[in-house]
Amino acid sequence: MHEAPILVIDDDLAIRDTVSEILVFEGYHVVTAANGADGLRFAEQSWPALILLDMRMPIMDGWAFTHALRARGATPPIVVMTAAQDARRWAQEIGATGYLAKPFELHDLLDVVARLYGI
């Protein structure tokens, strides 16, 4: 059992649930948020080991979230998780450690999490 949580931020409930289910099944502790603002509150409280971040969201998007997080001095690894074709470029833009282009295969998700969790 991993203690530090993985924060999953995505405005789509089905995605949040699916990703959460997969990771929980693998023994990770997962917290979810529906937008950047909620995500930021969780991050401040729980210090996640890894953040899976959707980019286009209402209220606060991925860019604003990253900016705010960095402003608070937090530097957990971030994996951009988007359906947009610019996944790779956006990941570079915000200085993310990795990206997952939706739709992704389960093993892609597990690979990236395994690689980045706890570094």
């Binding site: 699916t18 289910e21 997969i22």
Partner: protein, 718 residues
Amino acid sequence: VLDDRVKTSAQLLDEVRSLRQRVQELEAELGHQAALASKDVRQHEIDNAQLYQEAREQRARLAITLASIGDAVIATDSQGRVTFMNPVAEALTGWPREQAQGLALATVFQIMNEQTRQPIESPIARVLREGVVVGLANRTILVARDGAERPIDDTGAPIRDERGELIGVVLVFRDITDRRRAEAALYESEERARTLAEAIPQITWMLAPDGTMLYLNQRWSEYTSLPQGQHWLDAVHSDDRALVLTTRTTAIQTSAPYELSVRLRRADGVYRWHLVRVIPVRDAGRILAWIGTATDIHDLKQAEEAQRFLAEASSALNESLDYETTLAQVTRLAVPRIADWCAVNVVAEDGTIRLLALAHADPAVEQRLRDLSVRYPLDSDAAVGAPKVLRSGEPEFYPTVSDSFWILDVHDDEHVRWLRALQATSYICVPLLARQQRLGAITFTFTQPGRRYDTADLALARELASRAATAIDNARLYREAQEAVRLRDQFLSIASHELKTPLTTLLGNAQLLQRRARREGDFKERHLHTIDVIADQASRLNKMIAALLDISRIETGHLSIERAPVDLSALAQRVVEEVRPTLDQHTIKYVALNQPLVVEGDELRLEQVLQNLIGNAIKYSPQGGPVVVRVARRDAMACVDVIDQGIGIPATALPQLFRRFYRAANVDAQHISGMGVGLYVVKEIVALHGGKVTVASQEGEGSTFSCCLPLQVTSFEC
């Protein structure tokens, strides 16, 4: 020459008379001298002898003179009897002097009227009676002794003695047979020339050497209807007058023929183009006159002009698909050549009629027309003009525009004033028709008096309208197609994007279920199978959506390549190793090269290319079989060949194989499904890398696809 001879004879006659007078004077002097009782008789005798000698010499000289002159001379005494004949007179009358001497003149000199053949009174009788110089009536025939007839010219003059007494008559005449013949010939040729000048359809004229008009044929009056006495220049178009005059002046200075095109006003006020040619008539180098002709070349010129205009307009129309601009160009080409004012109105999407292009010979008027079109937009119910033409689909053609024409559709008094100020004289409006659609109308208007449309112009206008309509239609169709493509790409992009979220959930849950089942072992085998099917199909759906998205990206230019050094050998090997465990009917073999093949490229995209080519090799070998993946270096290229022994590709399909959505004919028979997307995406990705993908295949024997990419340029080559 004839005149010169006549003059010479008259002079001779004078000379003869003066000589006679001199002789008489001398004789009188002699008598006078003799009568005088002189101081020295001897001296007198000597003087008399000298005077006598002198008189004799004068007589002899007179006789020689009379004998030498070219005209016939007959002298009579006061009774009309012949006293003298020179050799010419002998020859013409046929009477020797010796025989004629003393005979009555009427015997020797028989004359009659040429037409009536009646004898004419001897001129001698009149001279004797009236004592004056008389000329014979014209058309006199001299009948010689042998009956030969000759036309003659003749003069008779009295001979008087020193006291003025009439002592005889001298008759001078000449044979004018040659002159008469020449006159007849001249008359005939002049007559012929005049008949010709009146017979030809051209306007013909003759100018004096200095350019003064001497003669204009009947055709001129018929064409121009200019009143007698009005200067011919009035019928020349005012713009052409200067040219006519300067050309004529230059020609007179250089004595050179000239040719020019001018507009001549017809009786009805229409100016028509004429080809004018003027040539000098010379006699021994001196210009006697200028002869000019004007040939009506209006229709020819107009047809040529029309063809040239159509050609230019067509090339303008074909130049671009921006028909607003090309039609503006066409109206510019039309003015002033085929119109003083040209406008194109089109039917907008909302059905209103909108002015698209406008040109007027006068820029100020053009601006006013633009303002008018805004102020008084065309009413689609208007009784004349573009709206009517658009309603009927038929041209409107008014060779002559009457004042009332304009007031049919006016909005207010000011509008009427504006329209009248435009001074339209002739007008054509033709519809723009394409594929049974009425796209708009083109209006051609003449505002200069003397320019008038005819049926040839109407035909030209229709032809132009047809080409313009096709251009508009094509441009609109192209725009619609472009818009459709844009919408399709947009739809594809949004649709695929929107599909991704549920697909992610579907795929994630299916694979989670698979994983859970394998790990916890509490699923029945057939449930496991069901879960596998769901997961597989979700994966397949994922790949298809990814391919569609790639197409959309390629079409919109959004497929981007992120370059980094990639070892193509290693990549090919990895892809082969990943594929191998999934095969059961096929074998796959990797043929390596003992050196890295580094290219600058996007590893993910190149992996996609190799996966696709290998996937195809397997897919199109439905009976199973070997697949070989071979890497090779060819010149400065790194190549991967994917070789199969499958169904192959028909020769006819090879050139189109890499086209979007294309599928070879033999795949349907084999029931191999696909979207025709893979190879297109492969080609585009390889092209973005600066490489090339090629295929060699024999139907039924298999295919070899080669993907070659430029090797990375390294500073140290092994």
